[in-house]
Amino acid sequence: MSLTRVLKVLRKDLALGPRSPIFMYAIALPVVLTLVLQVAFGSLFAPKPRMAVVDEGDSAITAQLAATDGIELTMLDSVDELKTGVEANDYDAGLVLTEGFDEAVRDGSRPLLDLFIGGESLASSRIILSVTALDLVREVEGSAPPVDVEIVSFGDAGLPVSVRLVPLIMMYALFIAGAFMPASSLVEEKEQGTLSALLVTPVRAGEVLLVKGILGCVLAFVMAFMTLLMNDALGGAPFDMAVVLFSGAAFSAVIGMVIGTWSRDSTAMFTLMKSSGILLFAPVIFYLFPEWPQWIAKLFPTFWVIDPIWQVGILGKGLDAVWLEIVIAIAISLALVPVIGMLSKRMQRVLVG
């Protein structure tokens, strides 16, 4: 193994790699997934009741609604806009507070409560919004409630879906950049014949694989870091996070080398990626469904990569809590090195005889 040759191949790959569509794909996918899963599905799994208000007289109810936790408040300018929005299910309910509403409530005139409910709103949302609105009206009236209510909360609130989706996005970031990109680069070079040309020079197959692996590992590390940053899941221990991310990036690069050396062409690579996808991505489903038996996730190799990231980034634990997982991930990676060696020899034999 010559360092000079490795650096030369690295320079070539650094110059040509970013021109590949897969490189763009590896960079764009975590961003797109974060947007789609967090913005769309985060609110889909845990929808909040949505209330629109037209306040024509600076009512105290508006301020109280804005301060109420868990209700999405939208202020509108006209009653027509409110009715259209409620009918289109843009809001679950709409409240019109006419000028002098608060004064009328206080002086006992009993003004009309202009509350509109959307036909497509959930029954539970209707109850929440109606009862809350009535309670706020009572507060404006100023009468003391005839009863005290004490809320006794217990148990563990659990993590919101938006947080439990982070491992899924992380896996995409790690494996598209760390595995798919170097594998496709290797296969592309095989198909275009540039790898055969390279291997008739003093450059050895192992040096080419090392370069592809380094590039995959670096890109996977960067993309995993960016993904955690975008999802606000970097945790509070930068060194610990760097260690677990590095072990994950190296693991995915090793997987990429196995796929790249095994695949004769793009078709074979794509088929292998598709069929092995379930094995790679299965553990992330267990984070989405914490009530499932979690030991099953440990049967999948990628669990030992994603779990340390989860524990350090989301649960705020340190390396002392995840050292065993890291050791297992490194052991799996090392066990795959001889496999890569064998596949690399076969590849060299096929390409240059």
């Binding site: 569509p21 289109a88 009309l112 409560l113 497509e120 109850i127 009862v131 309670d135 005839p146 563990d156």
Partner: protein
């Protein structure tokens, strides 16, 4: 000596060749089958009901029996969004809420069992478990005390996972009951019930996520077909087999017509099979659905033509196909979220198609209710198809 051959025969021969080639391409056969099976399985896996009911636990000292009976009688006939479970003691209710006890209800009848799993109680047969996450414990003598002006304290037990808006609403609910007992009328006039609900009242009959997924699944299937056709075209362009085809009596027009027929038939057939498997077709909507599927299939064939002409290899084709198709999937995702889609989503070519698919399959509406969307979709179809045709024609001519 050459025998004259009709254009139809030439086009038919090219289409036949394309289908033979497709049947030999193991990757796309695999992807197409996998996609179809996967989407059908996903569809049936997603829940087909919308849980819009809050199950509320309650304990009282016996003095609120009339109120509970009144509530249950009122809730039976309509979808009130609130289901009531009365417990013997606050401790029992708290146990069910924190999960140390389980509440099971018989599938038929009103029988119910409180199961203590740790004590070794068996799982009741022909029953289902009822989840209770929040409960109200009215103190002994609440009715008399409140009516006579003595302040009492009502405890609301809630699992920490219960959203804050539900906790707040339950607090307000208790206060309103107390106001009712003290004959303290609302300080506002309530509007007439018929004026409150805007739009069709779907309480208890909500459109489920499963039903809303049908348009998304259709688009996904068409997306796989874009990959398939684009890959075939780019292969023909790169391997210059199209030049060989054009050396025969076949003209560019025949080649383009054949690709249009092949792409449309392939996309339409798969979308049809999948929609059939997910129960989208009914006696009333089959014609409307077919019209929408034909428009979508030709539109995606146009995209595949442009992608196939631009792709230089497998990865390039894959990337261009994703770049074109992913934005077109956004209206289908937007459908899963409540409310009107953003203005930029509404101008996407597939928006009208998705609206029609959703209206026809989930709401049982006719296509005549979607004439503006139909017109816009046809306009987009013409624009995209002509652009695809033109791009591929130029590419072929350049060879």
């Amino acid at each position: 000596m050459s025998r004259p051959v009709s254009r139809a025969a030439i086009v038919s021969a090219i289409v036949k060749k394309d289908f033979v080639e497709f049947s030999r391409d193991k990757l796309y056969i695999f992807l197409s089958l996998l996609g179809m099976i996967f989407f059908v399985l996903i569809f049936w896996f997603v829940p087909d009901t919308v849980d819009e009911t809050i199950t509320l636990g309650m304990t009282h000292g016996g003095d609120l029996g009339a109120l509970v009976a009144q509530f249950e009688a009122g809730a039976e006939g309509s979808a009130e969004g609130l289901a009531l479970e009365v417990f013997d003691s606050p401790e029992q209710m708290q146990g069910v809420i924190d999960g140390s006890l389980e509440l099971w209800r018989a599938d038929e009848g009103d029988a119910r069992v409180i199961r203590d799993k740790e004590a070794g109680d068996d799982k009741p047969k022909d029953s289902h478990r009822v989840g209770v996450q929040i409960g109200i414990a009215f103190p002994e003598g609440f009715l008399i005390d409140t009516a006579t002006g003595t302040r009492t304290t009502v405890k609301v037990y809630a699992d920490a996972a219960v959203p804050p808006e539900i906790q707040t609403a339950m607090k307000s609910f208790v206060r309103e009951i107390a106001y009712g007992i003290t004959d303290n009328v609302l300080p506002v006039t309530e509007p007439a019930q018929e004026n409150i609900i805007l739009g069709e009242d779907r309480a208890g009959d909500q459109v489920s996520i499963r039903e809303k997924m049908r348009p998304m699944i259709s688009i996904m299937i068409l997306m796989v077909e874009v990959f398939s056709l684009a890959s075939l075209i780019s292969g023909e362009v790169l391997n210059r087999t199209v030049v060989a085809v054009l050396a025969t009596p076949a003209k560019i027009g025949d080649f383009l017509a054949a690709k249009t027929i092949y792409g449309t038939v392939l996309a339409l057939a798969q979308a049809f099979i999948v929609l059939l498997a997910i129960g989208a077709f009914t006696a009333e909507n089959w014609f409307a659905l077919l019209v929408i599927l034909v428009i979508a299939s030709v539109m995606f064939t146009g995209i595949a033509m442009a992608v196939g002409a631009a792709g230089k290899d497998f990865m390039g084709t894959l990337f261009y196909a994703m770049a074109f198709v992913l934005p077109l999937m956004i209206p289908a995702f937007a459908l899963l979220l409540p409310g009107t889609a953003s203005a930029w989503v509404r101008v996407l070519p597939t928006y009208g198609l998705i609206q029609m698919l959703n209206g026809v399959t989930a709401y049982g509406r006719g296509i005549d209710e979607y004439l503006p969307q139909l017109g816009i979709s046809v306009a987009w179809l013409v624009a995209i198809y002509v652009a695809g045709l033109f791009t591929l024609k130029r590419k072929v001519e350049s060879l």
